[in-house]
Symmetry: C2
Subunit: 354 residues, 2 copies
């Protein structure tokens, strides 16, 4: 398929990414592609960034058939533009699509579309250290029909947003509230998919955490409320007695691309990484006997978010004196180094936008 | 607040509701009201039915902050227009709003807005027996912002759609597939809220049921996969040994307005109704010893959907010879009689649109 390009006549002025709030400024163009049951995916195009006009009965408004992805483009010191494992994001988009009864996209073609879009918007990729271009591909069901059935039409859209560095004053370990009342996801549900409904459903717990002075929520499994699943919208890792443990993928946990990269890095460094169930009780005991060495969340936004404190009921654990641990720091430096082209990419993870 | 009215110059032709597919034809106008954190809900208006134009970064597309309701307007034999317990729908909309971190609406004002809209569209309320005007109020988060936080702006919209009778050839008992793999909702999640994400998440199970020759899914609890929760998007009732049992509201079940009306009707008739947990095992045993007399789903769409057959693994139960039971029939006749003004409304459930 050929990608039509329609360039805007009115270029926006480019702000300093560090001075804007995350996800509020968008570039001049977007990538759009349509789907219908008769034609499949068709009419891929790059058009001026513009409102989407939908019938009020469009299914996205009523039954939540929508999925998304999140990744970033970085500028290297020698002014090249790199994407980090973007093929994994389109792979995951298709996993989400399957769960939400949305038709699959051609992953390679979507990646080609993204590359073309970034080429058009290359002036928008921030150059300052720590800044990047956030990429948001998403698919929405657009058929105007109130029947409870998958939409017969969809739009696949990619928008781009320059973002500042997550850690403006250096990495800050965060305080975490363990959530018992609200559940993020459960076996048989949509937790492993990146679909809209999972996120708004998490706001109530986040609100509680914020009110109580914590910056994120630790999610427990929905069945026994014993096992650790994720932190906010990040995967989570614990270093206990020299080994690294992360909750195993069980259907209610999203498989983060940062998570999979960290597992590969650690294994490459000869560190034992175990994917298994881990209970809050086990963590508490490990902390009490001094074996809980580090804990951190992982995701595209912050890459590594050290956890300084975990709180539930009248229990509280402080991890590594609320300082960033040496393994967390090394993972952060290595991953951001590879992503921004400052370190050699030995794993072939980065993809250059020409 | 004053409701501005802007009438269209181009009226659509009105189809025969019985000849159109559910939820595909909409009336000439819609009700719209905006929200911002500074102004609260403002600018209520009735405008020509038209597309909604949203920034591609609007939160509804990404994080699923959206809720909806569903109710109907009926024409009486003497040509009045009745709504059935509409205040309960706006009550429930606010319960859903709270769960999804959406600001509450003024329930009475929303009902007044709906009444005004139906007044404008009164020619669209079908008169043929069994036909009605389906009403879809919904709220969407509209702020263009990719941050994970509640939207600062919303739209509340009501659209109307003439619909044919659910049972074109008389009531047909349905065959139900019991779902073990997929979960609709779980304690601490969003099951009790009418929010978009719950619905698309259910398509995979429905697809499985359809493929295997069943018309709906019976949902089990997400924790033990033992207790019955709902059927498709209906509440469910069982008549066992003269008593009527329906799953108790536990946070993962939607509180249907049909459900609450049936409970009140049955109690008024002196029939014992018990809201409690009921397991599939208990149902199986009751069926085997001949005590399972009737089973039916309840909801605005079909009112009563008799369940003729339930299937899971190698177990199958046929209920009341797959015929509609006498209690199911009486409930159907009474509820539809009240809704359409053919029976006296002793409970004060109907609201006339003047
Ligand atoms: C629920 C959830 N968990 C984990 C992650 C981390 O995934 P990734 O490393 O691909 O960014 C994300 C998102 O980015 C997420 O939304
Ligand atoms: C999940 C679910 N359960 C039950 C019902 C029945 O509710 P009501 O009787 O108010 O139509 C509905 C919707 O209408 C629903 O969406």
């Amino acid at each position: 398929m050929n990608i039509e390009i329609d360039l805007t006549q009115n270029l926006k002025s480019k702000p300093n990414a560090d001075q804007i709030a995350f996800g509020t400024i968008f570039t001049d163009h977007m990538f759009v592609m349509d789907y219908s049951t008769e034609k499949g995916w068709y009419d891929p195009r790059i058009v001026p960034y513009q409102p989407i006009a939908l019938d009020p009965a469009a299914m996205i408004f009523h039954y939540g058939q929508t999925i998304f992805e999140g990744l970033k483009a970085y500028t290297t010191p020698d002014d090249r533009i790199l994407l980090f494992r973007p093929e994994k994001n389109f792979r995951r988009l298709n996993l989400s699509a399957d769960r939400m009864s949305i038709p699959a996209i051609d992953e390679q073609f979507a990646l080609a579309g993204l590359q073309k879009l970034i080429e058009v918007e290359k002036e928008w990729v921030p150059k300052a250290v720590g800044n990047s271009l956030y990429i948001r591909p998403f698919i929405i069901g657009t058929e105007p029909n109130l029947s409870l059935a998958p939409s017969k039409t969809y739009q696949f859209i990619i928008i781009l947003s320059p973002v500042g560095s997550y850690y403006k004053d250096g990495i800050q370990p965060i305080k975490i509230h363990v959530e018992y009342e609200y559940t993020r996801a459960v076996r048989g549900g949509t937790g492993f998919a990146k679909t809209a409904g999972n996120y708004a459903a998490a706001y109530k717990a986040q609100e509680k955490a914020t009110t109580e002075g914590y910056s994120q929520v630790l999610w427990l499994d929905g069945i026994e409320k014993k096992y650790i699943e994720e932190v906010g919208s990040m995967n989570v890792f614990f270093k206990i007695n020299g080994e690294v443990i992360t909750p195993e993928l069980n259907g209610s946990i999203l498989e983060g691309i940062t998570r999979m990269s960290i597992i590969e890095l650690l294994k490459g460094w000869g560190i034992t990484v175990i994917e298994r169930r881990i209970s809050l009780e086990e963590l508490y005991n490990a902390a009490n006997c001094g074996e809980l060495e580090e804990a951190f969340g992982t995701g595209t936004a912050a890459v590594i978010s050290p956890i300084g404190e975990l709180n539930w009921g009248n229990r509280n654990i402080v991890i590594n004196k609320s300082e960033i641990g040496s393994l967390s720091q090394k993972l952060y430096d290595t991953l951001t180094g590879i992503q921004t082209g400052k370190l050699e990419d030995l794993n072939g993870w980065t993809v250059e936008v020409k």
